[in-house]
Structure formats: C-alpha cells, structure tokens
Symmetry: C2
Subunit: 711 residues, 2 copies
C-alpha cells in the first residue's frame, strides 16, 4: 500500500470522527434523545425535559471535561469493579504503547528508513512512497542494526510483564478489599446444587433437605428447589408482546382522535374491536399463566437443581469446595451467582439436553469460524486492485480514477470486515447462553473468550495467511515451520492492519459514542410511542468491547517492532476510547452484575498470548534476516514469558476463583454480632425466585390504559 492511500483513509476517518463528535455534542442535549444518550441518568431519576435554549444547538465539549475528571473511586462506586477493570485495560494499553511508541517512533522507525533492502530488490518497480519503507522489511539482511530491534523486543516484553504483574496485583487487592467492604450478599451464603438424584419415595425438595441437614446440621439454613418454567416463560413473553400491541393500538387511536376531532368513526370502531379482541386473548393467556404457575409448585415440575442457603459464607464455601457425595456425578455444587444475575432458562432443560447442546455449540462454533472466512477472503481480494481488475474487467475505467482507487484500497476493506464482525458478539453470546452457564456474567465471560479467539483466528491469522495462500490451518499445524511462516506473512500485512486500526478502531469508538443503532431505533419508534413507557438503562456488553480492545492490543504488540507506524494510530484510538468509555459509564451503562473483577484473567491471558506471538515472530524475523545469533537469543524470551505467566497463575489466579478461608471467616465473624442478620436470613429465602413465577404485572403507568378495555 502506498502512503497516499493510508492518508486518504486516515483523512476520511478523522472527518467521520469529528462529525460524530460534533453531532453527539448537539444531539445529546436534545430531550428527545435523552433515552439514547443518558439512559442511566434517566433511570436514576434525572429530569426528562429541559426548557428550550439556544445553547442546545451549539456543540459543547463539556462532557469531555466531565469524563476526564471522573476519579477511579467514583467509577468504582457507580459502575462496580468490572467497569474499573475495563478502564484499567485501556490505561494499561496506553502505558504499554506509549512506552513502545517512544522506542518505535524515535528508534526503530529511523533504523528502518535508514536501510535500503527494498531499494536493492525492487529497484525497478519500487514506488518510492510505499509504506514498507517504514517496516523491518527495509532493514538490510544481516545488518547489525537488527540488534536494535532485538533489544526493543526484550525491553517491551519486560515492560509489559512488569505492568501485567502490577495490574494483576492491583486488581486482586481491589477484589479483596471489595469483598471485605461488601455488605452480606445473598450469593455469598448460597450454593447451587444440581444433578440431584431422584428417588421414588420422596420429592427433590425432601431429599435436598435430608442430604444437607445430615451433612451440615449446624450450618444448613434452607433451600429453594428450582422449577421447570420454560412453558410459563413462553406464555409470559407472548402476553408481554400482546400487551405492547394493545398499548400501541390504543396510543394510535388517541393520537388520531386528537388529530381528526371525532371523524372517521368506522376506522375507530374497527380498531376498538381489534383492541377488544386482543384484550380477550391477553386475558386468556394470563389465566393460563396463573394456572401453570400454580402447577409449577407441584412435585412433577421440580428440576433436579436447588439453591441451598447456609448460615455463613464459610459454610457455603466449604459445601462448594468439598465434593459432597461419594458419586462425583451427583450433588454437584457450584457457587451461586447474584440473584439478578441468574440465567433462569438454563434450569428448564434437562441435563442430558444441556450436555448435547454443549457439544452442538462446539461444532457450531467451528463451523461458524470456517464459514466466516469467505467474506474475509473477499475483503482481502479488494485490497489487491489487480486481482479485482482481472475478476471484474468492467471496473477498469472506474478503478482508473485515483480517488476511487485510494478509497478502495485504503478504506473499504476494513469497513466490510468491520460490518461482518459486528455479527460475531451477538452470535457468540447466543451460543454461550445455550452452553449451560448459570449466570449472565458467566455467559458474557465465555462469550468474550469466544469472540476473542474468533477475532484472532479470523481477522489476524486469516488476513496474515490468506494474503498469500488460503490454508492457514495447514500452516499452523506445521509446527516446525511456524516461526518462519509468521515472519514472512505477518510483516506483509502491516499496511492492512495500520489501516484497520485507523478505520475499524476509530469508527468503532466514535460510533460507540454516537450510539448509531439505538439512535435510529429511537427515531423510528418515537412517533408511535408517545407514552413514556418504563425502560431499563442498558448494560455494558463486555463480550463486544473487551475482545475488540484486546485485539488492538495484540496488533500493537505483534507489530510494534515490525511496523512501528501502527503505534501512533493505536495511541489515538486508545485516547478516544479512554474518554468515550468513561463518558458512557457515566451516562449510558448501568452494571447488571458484579463479578468482582473476574474479567482481568481473560485480559492477562490474552496479553501473554500476544507477547509470545510477537516473540515467535521476532525469532522468525531475525532468522529470515540472516542474523541467527539474534534469533537464537530471542528463544529464551517466550520461555521466560510463559514462566512469568505460570507464576502469575499461581500468585493471583486463585484470588479470582474463590475467596480464602481467612477472608470468609473474618467477614463471618464481623456479622456474628450484627442484629440485622436475622432479617437478612429471612430475606435470603425469597431472593432466588424464578421471575416466571411472579404474578404478571404490566407497567403501572399504562395499566390504566388497558384495564378499562378489559373490564
């Protein structure tokens, strides 16, 4: 790729970013957009209207200042430890790439430009302004200047490991102090038991009671058996939809009445009868739900799972850590999730079905990964103009226009890729949800990992290896040649990934700020729903945003010594992300659950993977550049990095999987003399209740709308 194409792409994206920022600065102040831009503040009770003012039409950057001035303590207290972990990932990446950026731009870039390898080879068709001049490809083979790259690799690896250790330690301490400062929470006293053996003589509930009372007579408190509610759930969602439709019809009628005075009576009547019809249907369904709910309390509807409550955190932890029954496939215990974090549909299916769906999910994941390659290959074709001309000869005249060429090579490829990648997080989230996790947080964590490996495989490896041949599986399976293959293929795609950062990266954060899709949805919906129906502020989709930032981290780490030019673009991206996500945490997202920082181990593992990949590329690159001592001396680096990772796993990971006996007992002792505990125990028994078993309640504000129709 030539420099001007890159500049075109950067230009377009800078313009887009500025546009998005300006529009956001205006639109966010319009009361009609409050639901899109400050749903969190609205849910917390902010006023929904503001008197009209000229200022509302002038873009103002005050939100930047507000986001900037947010302290870590404020973020932690308002959005929880998970938001803090997310922001720490951004600052962590900023630190790493600032350090790598200084080395890259001021040391490696001049060294690269100084070489003349490419001029020697392509003396004839060397375009002069190719981006490759700035990459390691331009350093002469066997040149001692490569030792600079060698030391850079060591320095950045060491700095990253140091920072990783620092962050892990910091977040672990935050997690512990969060636990120490937390009030008694239901999930700390609860254990989920599943695979309860059935017996003919007594119900599940009785056998749970008997089993745990026998084992833990002094600490067992009570239990709640989970009911199979998939039918009720289906009915309830049906009734909800019907209710919405009635409300909509009703609203339309009022609107039209208001508009036309009292005319066109026939139309109203038909609408009235429709509302009447739906109303009756709704009544039937609700009756059905009530019947089914009553049935659910019968023994036949008991699932083979239960929440078991204990008198202390320590007792619950013991029940979870020790295998309860002699048969390890029965009475399986898991720590319970927070009550509002429970993924209830999980329990409705039988365990055999869950086991099968787990297998199916694995197969589907693999298929999805394979099929997804097709658009990526097409995208890769677009970056190669000559191929395109051969495939579609009629494009020749259009491709002759310089600007079109630059747009196609510089901008379009990553845009198409980005669009198709948008599909991945929801798909992976869905796949994880049928895989058998018991909580929303587990589902998001699992989806994060899936999305992350999907991206590494389908964006990184597919781009790197399909640029030359479309057989990355074979290449990766050939372990003895892998470093050499990487060293050849990875630098060749440097310009693509630089553009990728400037397009996908920059636009993804600015569209995050601008909330395009919610905005469009809101614009379409508003005319129909005049009434202020109740709404929930959205929660952060970590499985969408976390893997994206991690992937840019991977690109930065693996390309910093190959093509240091990527680093400035990455730093701009991270700065934008820093401000924008802080703003979103203030205004948009609420915390749906609190994992206590359990996302950090995912981040850590991903960074270690990036480091090792970069080091393997370095081994291959130095060998390719015929500086074999450097190649040999780089070999200890992945070993050292993996040893460091092994240490971190032993030192920090246990803190994230379970709390220690010391902290559990300390907290329990604190509560011992607390008189509020009796009340807490009383409440504990009722918090884990399947929402499908609550009586149907439509929002109170609009209830009055329908009631007269139905009565």
């Amino acid at each position: 790729m030539i420099v001007s194409a890159l500049l075109t792409s950067v230009g377009i994206n800078t313009a887009l970013c500025v546009l998005f920022f300006t529009l956001y600065s205006i639109l966010r102040k319009q009361p009609s957009n409050y639901k899109v831009y400050i749903p969190r503040l609205l849910a917390e009770g902010a006023s929904r209207t503001t008197p009209f003012n000229l200022k509302l039409l002038i873009p103002s950057p005050d939100w930047v200042a507000k986001a900037w001035s947010l302290t870590e303590e404020q973020l932690f207290s308002s959005s929880g430890l998970d938001a803090l972990v997310f922001m720490r990932l951004i600052t962590f990446s900023l630190k790493i790439f600032a350090f790598a950026g200084v080395i890259g731009i001021f040391v490696l870039l001049p060294v690269n430009c100084w070489g003349n390898q490419l001029q020697d080879i392509d003396i004839l068709d060397f375009p002069g302004n190719s981006l490759d001049v700035f990459t390691i490809s331009n350093v002469n083979s066997g040149s001692n200047w490569l030792w600079v790259h060698f030391f850079a690799v060591y320095a950045v690896s060491a700095f990253t490991c140091f920072q990783l250790h620092h962050e892990y330690k910091y977040i672990a301490s935050k997690r512990i102090s969060y636990f120490y400062s937390s009030k008694p929470q239901p999930h700390q006293f609860t254990v989920l038991v599943h695979s309860i053996p059935t017996s003919l003589s007594c119900s599940i509930s009785d056998s749970v009671e008997r089993f745990f009372k026998e084992l833990y007579p002094s600490t067992y408190l009570s239990h709640v058996v989970i009911r199979r509610t998939n039918k009720i759930q289906a009915l309830m969602s049906k009734s909800k939809n019907l209710y919405k439709r009635i409300a909509q019809l009703r609203a339309n009628r009022t609107q039209q009445k208001y508009k036309h005075g009292g005319g066109v009576l026939g139309l109203f009547e038909s609408k009235d009868s429709l509302i009447d019809h739906y109303g009756k249907k709704l009544e039937d369904i609700e009756e059905d739900v009530r019947l089914k709910q009553a049935e659910a309390s019968l023994i036949a509807e008991e699932a083979r799972a239960a929440f078991v409550f204990f008198k202390s955190r320590y007792a619950a932890a013991t029940a979870f850590h020790l295998q309860p029954s002699v048969n390890p496939t029965q009475w399986i215990t898991e720590p319970a999730p927070q009550p509002h974090d429970v993924y209830w549909p999980f329990f409705s299916e039988s365990f055999m079905k869950q086991w099968i769906s787990k297998l199916v999910v694995i197969v589907v994941c693999i298929l999805f990964t394979i099929l997804f390659l097709i658009p990526v290959v097409i995208v890769q074709g677009l970056t190669n103009l000559k191929q395109l001309e051969v495939l579609f000869p009629f494009l020749k005249s259009i491709l002759a226009v310089k600007f079109v060429t630059q747009v196609i090579t510089g901008y379009l490829p990553s845009l198409i890729l980005q669009m198709s990648l948008k599909l991945v997080p929801p798909v992976m989230g869905f796949l994880s949800s049928i895989q058998g996790y018991i909580s929303h947080s587990d589902i998001e964590m699992s989806a994060s990992k899936k999305v992350q490996w999907f991206t590494v495989w389908n964006v990184f490896f597919a781009t790197v290896f399909s640029g030359s041949v479309f057989h990355q599986v074979y290449i990766i399976l050939d372990l003895k040649e892998i470093t050499g293959q990487l060293a050849v293929a990875v630098p060749a795609q440097a310009s693509f990934f630089i553009t990728y950062v400037a397009t996908t990266g920059w636009t993804s954060v600015s569209s995050e700020l601008f909330q395009i899709i919610p905005l469009i949805v809101s614009l379409i919906k508003t005319p129909f729903t005049k009434q202020e129906s109740e709404f929930e502020a959205p929660s952060m989709a970590y499985h969408r945003d976390l893997p994206r930032i991690l992937f840019f981290g991977l690109l930065g780490i693996s390309y910093f010594f190959l093509a240091p030019l990527i680093l400035p673009f990455l730093l701009v991206y991270l700065c934008l992300a820093y401000i924008i996500y802080r703003n979103q945490f203030i205004n948009v997202y609420t915390a749906k659950y609190e994992t206590g920082g359990r996302f950090w181990p995912i981040v850590h593992d991903s960074m270690i993977f990036s480091l090792v990949l970069m080091q393997l590329i370095a081994v291959g690159s130095f060998a390719l550049k015929k500086l074999s001592p450097a190649s040999t001396w780089t070999l200890p680096l992945p070993v050292l990095t993996l040893t460091f990772n092994y240490y971190c796993r032993r030192r920090f990971l246990p803190i994230f999987t379970a709390y220690s006996a010391e902290s559990l007992i300390t907290k329990d002792r604190e509560d011992e003399n607390d008189s509020a505990m009796t009340e807490f125990y009383r409440q504990l028994l009722s918090v884990y209740k399947d929402p499908a078993l609550f009586p149907i309640q439509h929002s109170s504000s609009s209830d009055s709308l329908v009631s007269p129709l139905l009565s």
Copy 2:
C-alpha cells in the same frame, strides 16, 4: 525379518525361561537364599533355617500352585490396594488381549495371509518366509477384506473401553470401601502446610499455632514444625557407613582368628588399631550428631513447613481444600502423606532451591531423552545386517555364519535395548525425588509417568521413525501428515516389536522371579557378613514394573490389527507375569505405603493414549491402502474414545483425588463415641517425626560387637 530368526529368538528365550524357572525352584529352597527369595516371610518371622533334605535339590512347582490359588481378598489384606491394582492391570490386559487374540489369530491373520500384495511388489527379492506375510502389508490395496480390519478396530476399541469403565468402577468402589473400613489413620487427620511466612517477632511454630487457632478454633489440635536436618542426615549416613566397616573388619578378624588359631599376630594388631581408629571416629561423629540434634530444636533450624493436626478428617480436608490465606503463595496446604511415607529430605532445602531444582529436572529429563537415542540408533543399526557389513567390513566372515546372523538380527538388538532401559527407572526415580514431592508414593507415581513417556518416546517412536530417518521430532511436529507417517513407519517395525516382546518381555519377568541382581549381591556379601544383621524386606518398585507392562499394552493395542502375530507372545508374557508377580507379592515385597489405588488413573490414561494412537494408525493405514471410506469412518473413533475418557475423568477421577464430604463426615461420626480416640490423638502428635532426630541406634545384635572396642 525372516521367520527362522524369530524362531531362534523365541527358542533362546524359552530355554532361558525354563532355566530360570528350574533354577528358581531349586535355589529358593536353600536357606542361604531365603533373604533373596522370601525376605517378606523372613521379616514376618519365618524360620531362617531348614534341616537339610534331599527334596531341597529337586525343582518343585509348588510355588506356582500357591501363587495361583491366592485370592484377591488375601492379596488385598496382605499387600494393600496398590498390589491389587497392579494385579488387576495384568488381568485386565489378559482379558483385552485374549479378546483381541481371538479376532487377530482366527480372523485377521488368515485375511492377511490370503492377500498377495507383497508378492506383487517384491516378486524378485521376496524371501518367501518373511514375517511381513502375516501383517496388514500383505493385504491388497483397495481390497474389501480391509473392512474386516476396520470392524476389528471398532470391536477392540469398544471392548477395551467397556473393560476400562468396569475396572475404574471396580477400583473406585474398592478405594471407597477401603476408606470406610480403615481405622483412624494419622494422615487422615493431618495437613501439611508449607510456605509459612516468616516474621521477626515470633517463631514459625508460634505463627502456625496462632494462624490455625484463629481460623479453626474448634477443630485445630496441634502441629509439628519441620526442622532442617540435611546436615544431621549426612552425618548419620556417614556414621552408619563407618559402623558397617567396623563390623566388617571385626567379622574378618574373628574369622581369621578362628582359621589360623592364634598366629600372624602382627596382622591382627594392625587390624585392631584400625578398628580402634574407626571406632574413635565413629564416636566423634555420633557426638556431633547429638549436638546437631540438640541444635535442631532451636528456632533457627525451623523449616517454613509444618504438619498441622485436626480433630476430625473433615476438618483436615476443609483446611486442605480451602485456600487458607489471602495470599495464595503463602500457607499452602497439602494433604499429609502417611507418616512412614514422608520423604524427609524434601523439607531440608529452601523453597527457592526446590523451585530451581524442579526446572533443572525438566531440562535434565529432556536432555536424558535426547541423549538416550544414541544407543537406540545403534541397536537399530544391528538389525540391519547390510549396514553393519558396510560399517565393519571385517565382520563379513562372521556374519556369513547363519546362526550368528540369526542371533544378531533376532536377539541381540532387544537385549542391548533392554540393558540400557534398565537404567531408566532408577534415573527417573532420582529425578522425581529432587522435584519437590513430599512422599515416596508421589515420587513413585511421578517417576512411573516419566518412565512411561520416556519408553513411549524412546522405544516406540524412536524405533518406529529412526528405522527410516532419524528425525522423529520433526515428524511428530508435522501434525497434518502424522497419521500417514505412522501408517508407513509403524507396520515396518512389526517384526522388531514381536521379537521385543519375546525377548525383553519374557526375560524381564523371569529375571524378576530369579532376582538376578539381589542374588549376585547376596552371593558376594555372604562371606563377609556372617552375622545376621537386621534387614528390611524390599518394596515393589512400581515405577519400574508398571510402565513396562503398560508399554507392552501399548504394543499389543497398536499392533493387534497390523501384525496379529504379536498377540500370542504377549499372552504368554502376561500369563508369566500373572503367576510371577503374585508369587513375588507373597514372598518378596512388602507394602511400603498405601495410596489407595491412586496408580489406576495412570493406567487408564496410558490405555486411552494407546487406543487413540492405534486408531490414528488405523486412519492412516486405511488411507494408505486406498480404502478411504474405511479411513473416514475410523475418524469418529478417536473422538468417541476421548469423549469416553472425558466422561471417566468426571465420573471416577475425583474419587481418586480426594474423599467426599459424605464419606469423611460418616467416618468422623463413627469415631465420635469411640473411647480409643483420646489415645489416638495423643499418639498423633508424635508420629510425624524426622528420623534424623531420633537418637542413633545400631542394630542391637551387633551393638555388642562395637561397644567393647569403644569402651
């Protein structure tokens, strides 16, 4: 290899076996060999002398009948669950290979002979009586007869998995019933804590007391801090050696006195002064030991580890399962080994040193594996006579003799391999002992795994791949070609491995029976040690015998459909092993420790590996034979096998890693009303004592020998 070479080899080995059996039947009855052949019975108090009798010189097979009639209950009660597991491995293998043998000999062998692939190819230099006629190589390419092999592979895989499940279940139930029927044992109530943080203000002992009393006030009983005793250990072994030398000198003197009456007085005097000199030295050392032992009780000699005792098994298990401290690298708990199973030298080194030695052990293991290949390659060279003639032209005339040729190709190669393999178990045992395990049983389990993988790598893969080219690492790293490579290389070595079973296998069991090395040692020693010094019955070296049987299992499973001729030899081996090891458990070995059947998961994993390897070879073989549907339909088999293994890991493995809360609490409740528990608790505090801290005691019988010299 030709059939006559195989027959020569089998002939030699049959003769050797008969010789060993006959000699054993005579020698075992001589009182002078009791120490070699019935040490266990001696240690249990059998009489050491028998009146001379002519019967003693006639070989009798009564021991075979005795070994045959031993029931499983008798074996279990006399030698423990580990011996039972070992014998179950042999009967399990017998079952598998009897089943495979019936299919192999009566179905596959005729099919193989029926083909004429080899005649077609090597019409000119086909020797006619080559063993290859009996292998799959002789089946015609693309022949539908290969479907017979296909179904055989499925049948044997299914039968093996069925048997594996059955055995795992049986041994798991044995383990649980062993636990339920066991008396209170010290290690059930004990936890080993290491990495105790040091503090300036108080001793290790005090901080252990404080920490556990704080955490578990109601169940904590007491503790014993471990002392650094490496210096004392060194001194003690020095004193022991010195003592032995004195005893020897003294014995010689008495003998000579007896022989020569009172003559050659000068010689006696010099000996006397030598004894005197050594005696004084011994006295000095013993004084030193006493001093050091007194010092060991000081705070400065405390190691950062302790045994902590609890009032119940459940409390100890809880302390082990829950991470005790907030910092996961401090106060690390492990279940304690049995008191006589503790590997005390472990505690003497600092934990940093242990960490380094762990890394060193890994490196040494790799180096050992690489260097070991050299003799294996030489051995491989010997099987190829033409190579040998080229290398050593002077051998030509010798190699012309037919018998020499047959000995060299049929017998010598495996003998050399076997001799060098004898070194491996002790080396691996030593390496495991410095790797940081706290008990002899853990060391043996780790060494078993090491020896096993070493054998698979250095005997199986090295033979299979160095037969063609010496680069198995490269071949195995090339994952995409691996099944094809295996399918080419593995059948080519069929004749080598058939001979291997008949030589290494048969001679190894008969030399196990004959106890060659202990016999030789005893023959050399006897003249010098007339006095009956105390001795211990040896214990079974599982890390030597278990991997050997597992390796024969691997050979049997992977070759059964390629070269069914291997199965009769294997069955003979297993029958011999069945009788001989039973005999050895009755007469020779005592149980040093009881792991409760924890060796079985190693057996299970090894069998699964063998199955998957065989299935991959099958995939490659069918592809190579141009019957691709069979190759494709074999592919699900490894997936199914691994799924089965995954199920077994979930269903049975947890039973072998820890006891369930249910069983622990049941056992604790049984003891609650037992009055003997107070006495047990009292004893508990003194059983974990480093032998280096016991006062020096030489065997009482010979103590009188030295005392007059020293006084």
